[in-house]
């Protein structure tokens, strides 16, 4: 088999005519009618198969010599391919490689998903209690600043932030009566935000935040106390810290390890939402248990928590959605609370005057 090709010597960018003959041992070449030299078939490599012209390289002890043979003759290409065993670059080889990459990537994705679903939550549960309380408080301060910045406007105003008005004293009284019976990792920091959203949440470092509208909605002090005791349960179980480690771990895994190819960001948010709600359901039950215990010991009405949550959840309007989404209210949950409520008369945690003061805490100077 004979033919012609373009030869580059790798020293100068000059295309030269080469007469090519495929002989027993290899390609016999004569460049610009010069002396014959040859390429072993075993040393010939093809970078990429595809449309003509094809480029063949020569390798010597594993590295490229710089020489290139460019062949545009289909018959010659076919004959050469048949003679070279370790040519590389074939479409079949590339598609096998591709399948391998996809297969391993999918395996990596599956193990990532497993880590995200089981590994990270387990890690978060183990790590959260090990975080020093001081560190959690520092983190809580940072998170609180961020939350207040995001709320902005009226909702970011802390009611009775300074001073010692009757509302604040009433809140303090309620907190003290409950904490006396609760084993907490550190001091609480309970605040009321001047917001018309009916919600309450817990941040790391024992920070419990009530929204004004939720307190206004309550029909008695024990309804607020029930929610407070529930949030204290989150503090005791360090759920906020756990949530941060959990969310941070997922972001870190997906965002950093895989590199954000723009699609990953949405996946993180989606998975956080999905996992976040799943994650909190069992924690909600544990926080309820905590609330029942503390309320029972403090002598308050345990059932108030269940009926209050149900009332807030059933009320019309979308403002309530937030509380429902973060604290899913189910009949099971309310029934569980009621079933464990002790019989007999209960004493409200605040007297009538204190309750009035708490209700109007956001009107305090």
């Amino acid at each position: 088999m004979r033919g012609s090709a373009v030869y580059f010597d790798g020293l100068r960018p000059v295309p030269r005519h080469a007469d090519v003959a495929l002989v027993a041992r290899g390609i016999s070449l004569s460049v610009d009618d010069g002396p014959l030299f040859s390429w072993d078939y075993g040393s010939v490599r093809l970078e990429e198969d595809g449309s003509l012209p094809l480029r063949f390289h020569r390798e010597e002890s594993g590295s490229h010599t710089g020489e290139v043979l460019e062949i545009n003759d289909p018959d010659l290409v076919m004959a050469l391919k048949a003679r070279c065993k370790s040519l590389g670059g074939s479409q079949k080889e590339r598609s096998r490689m591709r399948m391998k990459i996809v297969g391993w990537s999918l395996a990596a994705v599956v193990s990532m998903v497993a880590v995200v679903l089981y590994g990270v939550p387990a890690l978060a549960t183990r790590l959260a209690p090990l975080v020093p309380w001081n560190t959690e408080v520092a983190l809580g301060n940072a998170v609180e600043g961020e939350v207040l910045r995001q709320l902005s406007g009226e909702a970011s105003k802390v009611c009775a932030a300074t001073g010692d008005g009757p509302g604040k004293r009433a809140l303090q009284t309620m907190v003290e009566r409950l904490t006396r019976h609760a084993a907490l990792p550190g001091a609480l920091d309970v605040k009321v935000l001047d917001s018309s959203v009916q919600n309450a949440f817990t941040l790391p470092g024992g920070k419990i935040v009530f929204m004004r509208a939720l307190i206004e909605r309550a029909e008695g002090p024990d309804e607020v106390a029930g929610v407070l005791a529930h949030e204290m349960g989150h503090v005791a179980h360090r759920d906020a810290m756990r949530g941060i480690i959990h969310a941070g771990g997922i972001s870190f895994l997906v965002g950093t390890l895989l590199g954000d190819f723009t699609g990953a960001g949405a996946l993180v948010i989606g998975s956080k939402f999905l996992l976040g709600s799943r994650y909190s359901r069992e924690n909600e039950a544990q926080a309820d248990d905590f609330a029942i215990e503390v309320m029972t010991k403090a002598g308050g009405d345990v059932k108030a928590l269940g009926s209050f949550l149900r009332r807030v959840a059933r009320s019309p309007g979308e403002r309530q959605m937030e509380l429902v989404l973060s604290h899913p209210v189910t009949d099971d949950r309310v029934a569980a609370i009621n079933a464990r409520a002790p019989a007999g008369p209960r004493t409200p945690l605040l007297n009538a005057a204190e309750w009035r003061a708490l209700k109007s805490i956001c009107k305090d100077g």
Partner: protein, 413 residues
Amino acid sequence: MSATSTAGEGFVAAPLGIARPPPYYGPHDALATGTDLAPLVWRGQILTVVTLGLYRFWYKTDLRRWYWRNTVIGGTTLEYRGSAKELFVGFLFALAIMVPLYLVSAYVGLFLGENVAAVAQALFGAAFVFLVQYGAFRSRRYRLTRTVWRGIRFDQTGSAAMFALKSMGWMVLTLLSAGILFPLMRRALERHRVVNTRFGSASGAFDVRVAPLMKRWLLLVVPMVVLLGGGGIQAALAADGLSGSNEQIAAVAVAILMVVLGVLWPLLLWPAYRAAEFRLFTSGTSIGPVRFASSFQTRRLYGLFGKVIGLSVVAAIAVLLVLAALVPAVFTAFSAGAPSFGMILIPVVLYLSGFTLFAVLKELVFKQGFWRHAVETLGIENLAAVDGIIGSSVSPESATGEGLADALDFGGV
């Protein structure tokens, strides 16, 4: 094509003794061939999404191979010798640099108090800007050392750190000048890139006058600054004392109009500036004895932008229609209290398909269109003189810079 095409013809007629010149040897200085990019892009983009981005190194390499292979200069196609494995290793190196930096910056931001955090965040911001530029320069070196034409490698000299410092200095100057100095920055950085470019023994040279570019830039930036600044002042004046009178409403409307125009104007003129910049920069570039010229058409760039925007709108409408068709199903699932998995899955699938569609459009319509027109309007003068260039044995650059560029999330062909 242009007066510069003699070099290409000269090459074809050169006494090479090629009995049967391949059909792709044409009269052009540069030629863009190949029409089969679509399957590669679809497959690459979908596999990238399916593998949560891990396939992107292989996709990027396939893309480059395609573009290089289909760029014919003086009858010889470019050759890309990079491999996806190198990119992947580069990405791992970049992780080793970025992960500690992320962790330290998160730690400082959370625990060291507001004042320290503010200073530290500024420092980290500067470090990230530095790394972006550093990565971009090294990424270019990686690509050049993997680019071979007629058996000779390209290369890039110069320090990436110097480039990063230089570009940061220019960024500060440009900001201080309210953007006026932007073309000077672009020219300085392009010069830095070009004069450090090597092809064998030949070095790049760059000679571009800034005046024609500045003229176009001022046309873009001065009305923008005037409109935005004027709109701001007008809004401040109008908001002074809320009387709700008709005059005040009219004044506010004028302020809003000025701001909207101030935003639209630069967007409208950007393609014209960009096309002119591309022409001028290309025409001011030479490598050794070879000079380049570009007659890249402004209206072609407008056409490409228009096409991508138009097709994106069509794609967005299609995705929205699918969503609308699915909404009832989603709501039933939601209200029935069914597992929220489907509720999450549907938006994720929609988002990813929208993302994939847009990425495919961008590559197939915009990037391919830009490349094709850029190559077809490229004139090459004195190409025959490359015979005097001698190949240099350069040690190939590692892909760490490319990995950094990838980790810091910005692309490059």
